[in-house]
Symmetry: C2
Subunit: 471 residues, 2 copies
């Protein structure tokens, strides 16, 4: 419960209609895109300007009240669940594109804008903002920045981090800082811009971002390659890169995913395939043709059973549908879908998929795997039922072993979803206790009273590592 004085001051800052503490509003902001996590906040606030955010933070700092800033809450790591109560700050009113600078190829926007709306505007000007998280139709730019979102174009174009070159942010004490700028180079002190990207709302509230734009590719080509042998698909991925081709998209679906997708989208996919690769290349037309021809040769020599190269945009859309419907199709199977995010060096994808399959068998759970093969970022996805605690426990055990397998293969516990609540007990596996201590020190430097998204990234207790049973 908030002190009445706090409520009064917050209402004064944003206006009565932009502060809510009715039951319905609190419940609506007690969870996010992550299954099985919920915690009620004490109030929900909707600022409309950086100045308001600063004033709000001064009040919250004075009363030591925790705050979770969020956009649409579409994250999958429990990153915006207010586990310690306090205020949820929803950024949706701060949704303006402030400038697109055609000479410097930059855009500056408030962070509450929906990513797809931002992207649409940029594309209408003939420019290109590459990060394309699957959530982009509902997620905000600020959410993408907080989580350092990736997407299907990560291999060739990088992730959100690679496009954020300047930030405005409000510190825990209400002070406003500006980092970077419309500058392609800036080494004035520590790189606070890149540090804030991916900091999951724990270091500052990001209110405005300056983003690097690039010229759009002139053409694009899409193909599917289907394999009876998982290693054939994996070798194809490695050989494409070794041939010095960096495709725009290089996506993977395993057999369980293929079956479910075909049931759902009726694409006529062959159900006996162990793997499908979705491959796209973009760029100058001649280069795209040459790359796609070479990729096709590699697929054939690696015993791809079937190849489909789209000749029209409509055909391409159909091929893309296979990959795009993976999550939706899986989510229909059972009441609860847990989409995970283990990442390995791309050369270890086949090993990782086989480990995942072994682990799923060991714990008798259903896990389908799809994801970004080109950058080794896999999404093993469990379909389960939150009401069945025994099964959920087995799913959790399986994921624990999957994270351990990822680390074992030189990978990481999260490639693009963030640590949040869900991965916090495993963070030490990746970065060690010395790494955790350094990160906690950074957290204290920004937020000495631990008000900004408390309970995230750092777990009260690190999970013990189990010994992996190799399959």
């Amino acid at each position: 419960m908030l002190d009445a004085a706090v409520t009064r001051r917050l209402r004064q800052i944003v206006g009565d209609q932009h502060f809510k503490d009715d039951r319905q509003s609190l419940v609506a902001h007690s969870y996010d895109g992550t299954p099985m996590l919920q915690s009620l906040p004490d109030g929900v606030i909707y600022p409309e300007s950086t100045k308001q955010v600063s004033e709000i933070m001064k009040v919250l700092a004075e009363y030591r009240i925790p705050i979770v800033s969020r956009g649409s809450g579409s994250n999958l790591c429990g990153g915006t669940v207010p586990v310690e109560g306090g205020i949820v700050m929803v950024m949706h009113r701060m949704n303006r594109i402030l400038e697109v600078d055609m000479e410097n190829l930059t855009a500056t926007a408030q962070t509450g804008i929906i990513t797809a709306e931002f992207t649409a505007h940029i594309e209408s000007l003939g420019l290109f903002y590459p990060p394309d998280p699957s959530s982009m139709k509902i997620s905000t730019l600020g959410g993408n920045i907080a989580e350092c979102s990736g997407g299907l174009r990560g291999l060739k174009y990088g992730t959100t981090k690679d496009y954020v070159i300047g930030l405005e942010a409000v510190l825990a004490n209400g002070e406003i800082i500006r980092t970077g700028g419309k500058l392609m180079k800036d080494v004035a002190g520590y790189d606070l811009t890149k540090l804030l990207v991916g900091s999951e709302g724990t270091l500052a509230i990001i209110t405005e971002a300056t983003l690097k734009l690039v010229p759009p590719p002139k053409s694009k080509k899409t193909m599917l390659a289907m394999y009876k042998d998982l290693y054939g698909a994996a070798r194809t991925v490695s050989r494409i890169i070794e041939a010095k081709i960096i495709p725009a998209t290089l996506e993977f679906m395993d057999n369980p995913t293929i079956r479910v997708v075909d049931d759902f989208a009726k694409l006529g996919l062959p159900r006996d395939m162990e793997a499908i690769l979705l491959i796209e290349q973009d760029g100058d037309p001649e280069a795209v043709e040459r790359d796609i021809d070479l990729i096709r040769e590699i697929c054939v020599s690696e015993q791809a059973d079937r190849l489909e190269v789209a000749e029209t945009r409509e055909q391409a859309e159909k091929l893309l549908t296979a990959r795009r419907s993976a999550f939706t199709a899986l989510a229909r199977l059972r009441p609860t879908t847990i989409l995970e995010d283990a990442t390995v060096p791309r050369s270890r994808i086949a090993d990782m998929v086989l480990r995942i399959n072994d682990i799923a068998r060991k714990y008798n759970v259903s896990i389908a795997t799809f994801g970004h093969a080109g950058d080794g970022n896999l999404h093993p996805t469990a379909t389960t039922d939150a009401r069945d605690q025994e099964e959920v426990h087995r799913v959790e055990q399986a994921f624990e072993e999957i994270f351990e397998a990822a680390i074992d293969l030189g990978g990481t516990i999260t490639g693009e979803h963030g640590v949040g609540l869900v991965k916090a007990p495993f963070l030490e596996w990746k970065i060690g206790s010395a790494g955790i201590e350094v990160m906690k020190g950074i957290k204290r430097a920004f937020d000495p009273d631990n008000l900004l998204n408390p309970g995230k990234i750092f777990a009260k207790e690190t999970r013990k590592r189990v010994v992996i049973q190799h399959g």
Copy 2:
């Protein structure tokens, strides 16, 4: 003076021949590439392994002895001058390339390797590591990482930061951390990798780096465009970008630079030009031809007085010589050369050059300007004489105003050289006092006893801003 017990323990760690405290060794490590700065260390140590670095740090932490880690000391910001004495740690013995992974397109190397040697090896394998600081024939990978070095390819390919994806580093207390990995995506906690890049040896000693490699471009074309009107050159830069062409190189030289370069290299450059642009494009041959044709049209329509497009590699080398010899040619003029690093949004280059010229006139000093037009990173270079204190004082006043002009135009005090000692009094102008406080907090989190490169980045006193006299 070091305690005899310290000296003994350090000698035990590295062996007698790899610890020096004779006068000659101390003097040789009392300065770096920055003019007019010198301070004697108490000892010089040459570790050969991360384990030794860790052991050394434990001893130094115990005795609270400052340490400056360095490669070749070619930096231009006083970044490796041991202003508080203590130990200089030279990384040259740790110079092995540990692995080039062709499947994952990564290289892992110790940080004491000379950058050009690393690059040569990578290129011999048919791969490409784009960062190309002008110092690369003498500078080390570790120095480049510490300073986040840029170079001529920054516009299209980015800087060192964009290629560092994993690090091994030794903390002030001797603990070893590993960040990132052979991973194109990793959001497991704060991005310590990007934070350490550009941290100028103040947060940790970087011992090993995993670097992203890319396929090399298939072809390259080089041209010079010469202008009687500075704004014609500046508009050319903006119009190339607006035409959605991102050249591999887009370099600028002003009239004073052109004259000096021509005196030095006898290239037959027209001495009445206000600006020369050196432009290179690389990529697929068809795209390169198309881009160069378009760029040529833009140059012509912006009244370029003369255009030279190289038809052979030898011709290209000749054109490149003009830009490459800028620093050497200027350095011959007078005993002391001060190369600065002010950076502005690329659309403000002409404004910045004119401001620099006005400021040089106001203080009656010689400043020639060249640099990376494509990313707005200019190198105003003063030729002076360190023995003439009165003139040096005027040069310093002029640079102070130049930094202020850069900030005023939306730029920064350093684009690629780092803060070090030289820019520390100006850092607050760029990032504000709240930004400085956050950075100091990060420093304390890594290095609570301020042992790692003390005196750098953070000044005892911020310089007061003067009021700029617009020209």
